[in-house]
C-alpha cells in the first residue's frame, strides 16, 4: 500500500480558489469605494481591473479615470495636495499655469490647451488668472472624499484576512491524498 499527495493538483486548485476569493474582495472594495464617492461621475468611473496572476502573485485592482481622481482628492482650492500624483499633475500639460499657490481654479490664458480628460480645448483668455470657482464663477468644487483609500483601509482591517482564512479552511486538502493497495 502506498500513500501519495498530489501536490501539483492541490496547488492548481488552491490557486483557483484564491483567485475566486480575490475576486470577491475586489468586488467588495469596488462597492465600498463607489459608496464613499461624493460625485456620481466619480462613482461611475470606478471599475474592476482584470485579476492578474504574475510570478505567483495574485493581484486584484480597481481603477478610475479623472472623475474618480478628482472625487478622491478633491477639486480647486479644496484639493488635497498630499496626493502622491499632485506634483506630476502640476507639472503636466493638463495644469493651468495661472493656478499658483492657492490652487483656486482660474481662467486659462488665451489659446488652446488640453483639459484633465485629455481633450483639446480653446480659451478666449477673457477670464485669464481670475478665480472661476463658485460663487465667483461656474465651477463648483468639493473636498476630497478619500473614498478609495477609506474602502481599502476597511478591507485591510481584518476583512481580507478573514476571506482568505475562510477559503483555506474550506479547501478540501484531503481530496489530494491518494492511496492504493499495491
Amino acid at each position: 500500500m502506498s500513500i501519495r499527495f498530489d501536490m501539483q493538483g492541490m496547488v492548481n486548485a488552491l490557486r483557483r480558489e484564491l483567485i475566486e476569493a480575490m475576486k470577491q474582495l475586489q468586488q467588495e472594495l469596488l462597492n465600498e469605494a463607489k459608496q464613499g464617492m461624493l460625485t456620481r461621475e466619480g462613482a461611475e468611473s470606478l471599475k474592476n481591473e482584470e485579476i492578474e496572476d504574475i510570478a505567483k502573485v495574485i493581484t486584484a485592482a480597481i481603477s478610475g479615470g479623472a472623475w474618480a481622481a478628482m472625487d478622491e482628492w478633491g477639486t480647486g482650492h479644496m484639493m488635497d495636495t498630499s496626493n502622491p500624483a499632485y506634483r506630476e499633475y502640476v507639472n503636466s500639460p493638463y495644469w493651468n499655469p495661472l493656478r499658483q499657490g492657492d490652487n483656486y481654479i482660474r481662467g486659462r490664458p488665451k489659446g488652446s490647451y488640453t483639459d484633465i480628460f485629455g481633450n483639446q480645448r480653446y480659451s478666449s483668455g477673457r477670464a485669464a488668472g481670475r478665480i472661476i470657482e463658485y460663487p465667483k464663477g461656474p465651477y463648483v468644487v468639493h473636498p476630497p472624499s478619500h473614498a478609495i483609500q477609506t474602502a481599502a483601509r476597511w478591507m485591510a482591517n481584518g476583512r481580507m484576512q478573514r476571506v482568505i482564512k475562510l477559503t483555506l479552511e474550506a479547501f478540501p486538502f484531503g481530496n489530494y491524498i491518494i492511496t492504493d493497495q499495491r
Binding site: Q24, E28, N31, E32, Q35, G36, L38, M78, H142, P143, P144, S145, H146, A147, T150, R153, W154, N157, G158, L166, A170
Partner: protein, 138 residues
C-alpha cells in the same frame, strides 16, 4: 426578513433614547425633531457647520458568505464633531459600542467589527466610525 429601513430605525431609536449619547451630543434638551436631525440614517457630512455634532447610521454594501442562503450585512456608525472636540467623538463611539455589540436589533444580534481611526469628514470637523455586522437569510 429584508427590511433595512427597520434595521436602521431600530438602531437610531436606541441612540435617540440614550441619555449618555444625548448628553455627549448636547441634545438632552432638544426636541425629538432636533434629535432626529443630528442622529440620521444616512452618511452625510458635506453640510456640517458651526459646532454641530452628527451621528450617521448607514449600511455599507452587503458581503457574500460561503453559504448562498446568507448575506453578511454591515451597519456603520460615524460620529462627526467639531475638530476641537475629538475626545467627544471617541466617547460617543465607546457608548455606541456598548449599546450595539451583542445586542438584538430587529431580531438579529449585532457584532462589533472594529473601527478604523479617523475618517473623512468636512473641513474643521473630526470623524471616527465603527462597524457592526449581522447575518441575514435571503
Amino acid at each position: 426578513m429584508f427590511d433595512p429601513e427597520k434595521d436602521l430605525a431600530s438602531v437610531q431609536n436606541v441612540f435617540l433614547n440614550d441619555t449618555e449619547i444625548l448628553d455627549l451630543m448636547s441634545l438632552n434638551t432638544a426636541t425629538p425633531l432636533e434629535k432626529a436631525k443630528h442622529i440620521i440614517k444616512r452618511s452625510q457630512y458635506g453640510d456640517l457647520s458651526g459646532g454641530e455634532k452628527r451621528l450617521c447610521i448607514f449600511f455599507v454594501p452587503s458581503r457574500l458568505t460561503r453559504n448562498e442562503a446568507f448575506l453578511e450585512e454591515v451597519i456603520q456608525v460615524d460620529c462627526h464633531v467639531p475638530i476641537s472636540q475629538d475626545y467627544i467623538a471617541h466617547r460617543i463611539q465607546k457608548r455606541v459600542k456598548e449599546l450595539l455589540h451583542k445586542k438584538k436589533f430587529n431580531n438579529r444580534y449585532l457584532k462589533y467589527e472594529g473601527q478604523l481611526g479617523e475618517l473623512p469628514t468636512a473641513n474643521g470637523f473630526f470623524c471616527v466610525g465603527s462597524r457592526f455586522k449581522f447575518y441575514r437569510v435571503i
